[in-house]
Point group: none
Chain length 281, copies 2
Amino acid sequence: MNDGLERIRQGLTTLKPSERKVAQYILKDPDKILAMPIAQLSKECEASEATIIRMCRSLQFKGFRELKLSISASVNQREAQPERYQDISTSASIKEIIEVVSSNNLQSIEDTLSVLNENSMEAAVTLMENARKILVIGVGASAIVAQDFEQKCKRINKWCEALTDSHAQLTSAVHLTKEDVVLAVSYSGETKEIVDTIKIARQNKASVISITSYGNNEVQGLSNVNLFASNLEQSIRSGATASRIAQLNIVDILFTGLASKNYQESIGFLDKTRNVIQSRF
Amino acid sequence: MNDGLERIRQGLTTLKPSERKVAQYILKDPDKILAMPIAQLSKECEASEATIIRMCRSLQFKGFRELKLSISASVNQREAQPERYQDISTSASIKEIIEVVSSNNLQSIEDTLSVLNENSMEAAVTLMENARKILVIGVGASAIVAQDFEQKCKRINKWCEALTDSHAQLTSAVHLTKEDVVLAVSYSGETKEIVDTIKIARQNKASVISITSYGNNEVQGLSNVNLFASNLEQSIRSGATASRIAQLNIVDILFTGLASKNYQESIGFLDKTRNVIQSRF
DNA sequence: GATTTAATGTAATAAAACTTCATGATTTCA
DNA sequence: TGAAATCATGAAGTTTTATTACATTAAATC
């Protein structure tokens, strides 16, 4: 069954003229014939159906069906992995776009892993576990990450508030206590609104955990615990922010860590919350 | 790109019992069925031929023939796959959690690739390109994906509205025209609120693009174009919804496809919008 | 417990693959 | 050189395989 195309190439010279015509036609665009009935192929390469069958047999296939299966198996051998973070060019086909975008997103998770500090993560989880309340803040693209974490926390009945409006953030920060934790999400780490809110939170003795891109940044300097997400995307103009995926990955880890601290209870809560949603279908 | 076995695995949970019986039989020894006519398979797994065909269709294959081709394509390309989706246990260390969560997220992007149809993606991008307005709808975890897409569209000056409140969704749907496109995000594909809104949109002749988990679902049935995200997480109780990452990956592709249609203009817009944000640091 | 709806199977039909055989071309050698 | 033998090919018929339409059974709903 292995590599049908190769078998056709190899056998080419041994074929009768009209059989060879068919074989060459197939080699020109193997993908195309996969969905073709023998009758159509017969028309397109001007050879009878019988000839096609005979060609299959000559190449040691049981029949046309087997030939197609075999071609399908070899056509789809995945092409070489595209390189690291790439950009999209003018003439990109959808296929290219799918590959490039996805591989950037994969890469951003992998890179984050190499930049992520276990101890910081452990510290962050412990802070949250003991927190009375978690205030999650972020604006723009980071707002989405903030909201995601809030949703998760609600599922395990952890008091958590995600605010994406800078006034609301400031207002809420005013009421924080030393029992509370702020989770600040900011790609740049320089977002003015976030910095302001963190400062107020610190004044109130709340702990601050940051999720920013790797490197020195203001948010990071003001935080008790820093978690870094990969930031390689800056070279990419695409706007399909891979860093957001990396940040969400961190949020997943934080949440899972938090949930596992009270494993039994959390599992119960998760099942409960899933059921209440599913019962609405 | 199209891994038939993965598609079967992904769709497994959405199948009717007897269809699932067939699917599981196939997964047990995929090679074996390649040479089998439908009648024999029917006997061996004790389900009617009609059920087999229905299973193929549920998994978005055109028929049994296509399913076999697709399996053949994937059978010999799956060497040493790293372990698939894992769950967190009671005693997991932070290190383990980091690894498992991240690898699940990576896997969800990869799986989505094998389930994603290029033609559908192309069709979706074209619809959006020509749309007067794009209405993005999603509730719960999918709300976040919807908002993410809205943010991106705003950056290239495409008229786009993300609504996460079901009343607002309905209200907005009433005003849609045949020039408009709805992008419906729903993990289950059965979200009542989303289904209702889609129906109204269709009445108004708007086109509907869906992003759901793989398989048969109501949203998918009501849509003009269907994009599928990997859904294996159901086995995971963690609540760290990997599917959301897969959905965001799809959104990235959609957006990049859209932006690349007017490459020069889009790049200009993206630079502009980035600058306006950065000037605030 | 009757009525609707969904799930599955049976049997007829359509499509595709494969065989048989006739025909015409090519080769062989008396 | 031309009759017999061999070979390559295609047209039409046959068998196998896939698909559809409809009937039946099971499950859910009222």
